[in-house]
Symmetry: C2
Subunit: 216 residues, 2 copies
Amino acid sequence: MKVLAVLSGGMDSTCALYKAMKEGHEIVKAVAFDYGSKHNKQEHKYAKQTCEKLDIPFKVINLDFSEFESDLLISGGDIPEGHYADPNMKKTVVPFRNGIMLAFSTGIAESCGAEAIMLGNHFGDHAVYPDCRKDFVEAMSQAMTLGTYEKIKLYAPFTEITKTDIAVLGDKLGVDWSLTYSCYNGRDKHCGKCGTCVERIEAFHDGKVNDPTEYE
Amino acid sequence: MKVLAVLSGGMDSTCALYKAMKEGHEIVKAVAFDYGSKHNKQEHKYAKQTCEKLDIPFKVINLDFSEFESDLLISGGDIPEGHYADPNMKKTVVPFRNGIMLAFSTGIAESCGAEAIMLGNHFGDHAVYPDCRKDFVEAMSQAMTLGTYEKIKLYAPFTEITKTDIAVLGDKLGVDWSLTYSCYNGRDKHCGKCGTCVERIEAFHDGKVNDPTEYE
């Protein structure tokens, strides 16, 4: 299958990319979306390096999120510390972000001849993000197929597995975790304290996978 | 209902806006998307004037469509002449444009407290655009509701009526047609020959509505 990959540069999408390639899919292109978050620039540096390593064309798409409110954005407040599933993480939600990235990618897929969109959303996202849950993913997938000439499909292999599962799977697939970035604060080193850092640390720890990350 | 209006500045969305207001909905904000088409700048000038007249906040969102192929875009070829439903109009399709505008608006709606998104798609769009058809609109509407905290709804009142019906309805609602723009070529005056100009002329003519447009 010809696949357009949505590649943020985090663990999930990077692992999904390795999995898609392992399954023999042709990755036509990888795209990342810069929506003005504190960490987009950092994570996209790593996404670019992964694509160079795997010889995949990579493009960053800039989106104007000036009408959006979220502490994840440069325009928002401080990133909360704590666990990824904590209620205060809701402040870092960027409303309908997956819906927007999927819709945008669907249009690009029709333009570049891809048959499917790869998205790395996983089960652990469900607590906080309505646009990561299975029922949303199914409805959006149907909208993508019905709204396109080429009946674009969704390839979201991690909807029902956890981040720990992803760490274990990625390790088997040979993912270079040092070329992935998770921290919501977006500084050079991972802070080790924000929700996504805590989730990253837990995934490596619980999956008994070596964590190459240098935390602040 | 608090409504976020997707307002291109064409006949359909302008009429939908008047209809929503007539029905007593509160228009929180109107947004237009500049995706690099030949006619975005022109149509948005009119959308802005309509919003000033109706006292509605208006914002243009710039989107990076550099990865898209379509003759509608500045980056594409010449706009074909002929009828809107002709096969050669397919060259002007911007893949999944409605999906993208709806997804983006859904995120903005969650940020600004709107409960529904208004979209002016109509039955006559169905021939050419898969992302205007009823089955797409229904699936996308479901994705929007499932993927948001506030269960954002879709208000698309024209999915089953024609552009001629819109001309007739708008006339009753007091729409100022001189503040709407349709031409795909995007010059000061409507060309009168492209698919959307031909469709505009037909709608006014068939609906026996006075057409204030000056054609080249």
